[in-house]
């Protein structure tokens, strides 16, 4: 049986009369890197806040490592490391003192763990500097170090690459991949940088206006983002009928800008072109292209909005 690190069942959060998160059911298996994707205000951070215990759900259930009881949830949360949207740090302390406070409140014995995460994130160069004098990227690194303190089994990261320079982004990406590979760490990561998420995540959850639109693995995403023929014509409705009746395919979709994405005949552009023009359709554009995660996301939420 696959153990779930996080499972939410019909999780909802309501502020006054509006639902910020509505009946959200996500499933994150142990050892996965789960990319949580959504626009600003879509409910990503609220969901993370409910999972981590910063906010109470209005309804629904949260299970952490198959544990859903209130007392058990607290115990399960000891196995979690969290980096929230804004790193929670004491500005008048150094990085070492910040790590020490967190070590003490988690009850981690010995100070070796501090040395370990400092080495891992390269914090030693900021040794005598107070956190209030750190740049956003440095704060983000320290926030990550706090999350990693005590070797958690589940890492929850809300916008972890905010403020990081390109070199640091690559470092963090490699670090997360290593953590998953070597320690079988489960990682829930929300980010606006979809390109970055695509390189990192093994499965994705797409949230829009508080509802989960789709949950899919990297393999499924690759399948859905496969090569297509993008066709732009003067009469989209007629072209759709021709594709269905004469080319016998329904494996296409019409985008918001009336572009038809045809997933069949990708190696036979000539047939498509000939069939359409012979039926009096003027082709404005006919190109072969593949979707990126960004395209897929935009199309998905575009469809959901309509």
């Amino acid at each position: 049986m696959n153990e779930f690190a996080i499972k939410t069942i019909n999780l909802s959060k309501k502020f006054s009369t509006d639902f910020v998160v509505e009946n959200l059911s996500i499933n994150i298996k142990v050892g996965e890197i789960y990319g949580f994707i959504g626009e600003n205000g879509s409910g990503k951070t609220t969901t993370i806040r409910m999972i981590t215990g910063f906010a109470a759900p209005s309804s629904g259930e949260i299970q952490l490592f198959n544990n859903h009881l209130q007392g058990g949830l607290g115990k399960s949360r000891t196995r979690i490391g969290v980096l929230s949207d804004k790193p929670a740090l004491y500005p008048n302390m150094t990085y070492y003192e910040n790590l020490e406070v967190n070590r003490l409140q988690r009850g981690i014995p010995g100070r070796e763990c501090i040395e370990e995460v400092s080495d891992l994130l390269g914090l030693e160069e900021y040794k005598n500097k107070k956190v209030k004098n750190y740049s956003l990227g440095m704060k983000q690194k320290l926030g990550m170090a706090i999350a990693l303190l005590g070797n958690p089994e589940l890492l929850i990261l809300d916008e972890p690459i905010n403020g990081l320079d390109p070199v640091a982004i690559v470092e963090i990406r490699e670090l997360l991949k290593t953590l998953r590979k070597e320690r079988n760490m489960t990682i829930l990561i929300s980010s606006h940088n979809l390109g970055e998420l695509y390189q990192l995540a093994t499965c994705f959850g797409i949230i829009h206006k508080g509802r989960l639109l789709e949950e899919l693995t990297l393999k499924e995403l690759d399948e859905k983002c496969k090569i297509s023929l993008n066709i732009k014509v003067d009469d989209t409705n007629k072209a759709v009928l021709i594709l269905e009746n004469q080319l016998n395919t329904r494996n296409f979709k019409v985008l918001q800008d009336n572009t038809i994405k045809l997933y069949d005949y990708v190696d036979d552009v000539k047939t498509v072109s000939k069939t359409l023009t012979s039926n009096g359709i003027n082709i404005e554009q006919l190109v072969s292209a593949g979707d990126s995660l960004e395209d897929y996301f935009v199309n998905l939420i575009g469809g959901a909005s309509r």
């Binding site: 806040r49 981590t52 215990g53 910063f54 906010a55 109470a56 607290g74 115990k75 399960s76 949360r77 000891t78 196995r79 979690i80 969290v82 929230s84 804004k86 790193p87 929670a88 740090l89 004491y90 500005p91 008048n92 302390m93 003192e97 020490e100 406070v101 967190n102 003490l104 409140q105 988690r106 009850g107 706090i146």
Partner: protein, 267 residues
Amino acid sequence: MYNLIRAEFYKLKQDKPYKNILITIGIIIVFCIILVTTKSPSKIHVISGTIGSTTFGYTINKYKDINNPTLQEIFNSAQGFSPFLQILVMFLVTSLVLNEYKNGTFKNSICAGNSRVKIYISKLLIISFGILIMNFFMLCGSTLFGMIFCKISVAFNNTILQMFKLIMLSWLVLTAMASLYMCFSIIIKNKSVILALGIVTMIFEPIILATLGLSKYGDYLLSFTLMKICSMPLYGQAAYNIVLTSIIWIIITSIIGISIFKNQDVK
């Protein structure tokens, strides 16, 4: 709980405002000693008033014979600085509670799997410990330095015992005040408002009680109780009532504070 208390203690040790508070108390001690060593004859009434035949209030430099101050008198003079201590307690509570909200560091305690009830209680315990140090430092520090500079010989008799009793009583009352400020901090989350409310209450509570003739209710109010501790000798039942009132205040404000904090969305 033990881990949380250790972490809170570490935070108190590293807290810059707390260090500043201890420096301020150091300045108060110096001021108290300067007054007695320079033989300044004038009494300084910080807040005072008369209810019936009894005079209440905080008085600094209250000596029968300034040339021959007693240990008890130096101690009482230091007690006159208690309103400042009350304000410093406000700063301590707002620093330790509201800065956690401001920096978002409550989140670290919560996501470490600690119960919010325990987080609240451990914070209150450490604030109380911080107050004990402040109170001890101000009252004992003044008395000790006064004793040294005025060359007063000391005998471990009832005076010491009475001073210890007063330190413990004012610590308990200040802890009850801290519990009240902590409860307000959890609800209001605004440093300036808490400080303004605290100072206004501290000044006007005794005045309003005296003006409206409600002094009999003063025993149930914290600012008035602290004033009473600093104004007159307390025996038996009076001390017992102060202990009971403070404990009741601590329990009620903690229950309210915890129930709010438990269901609060922490950002």
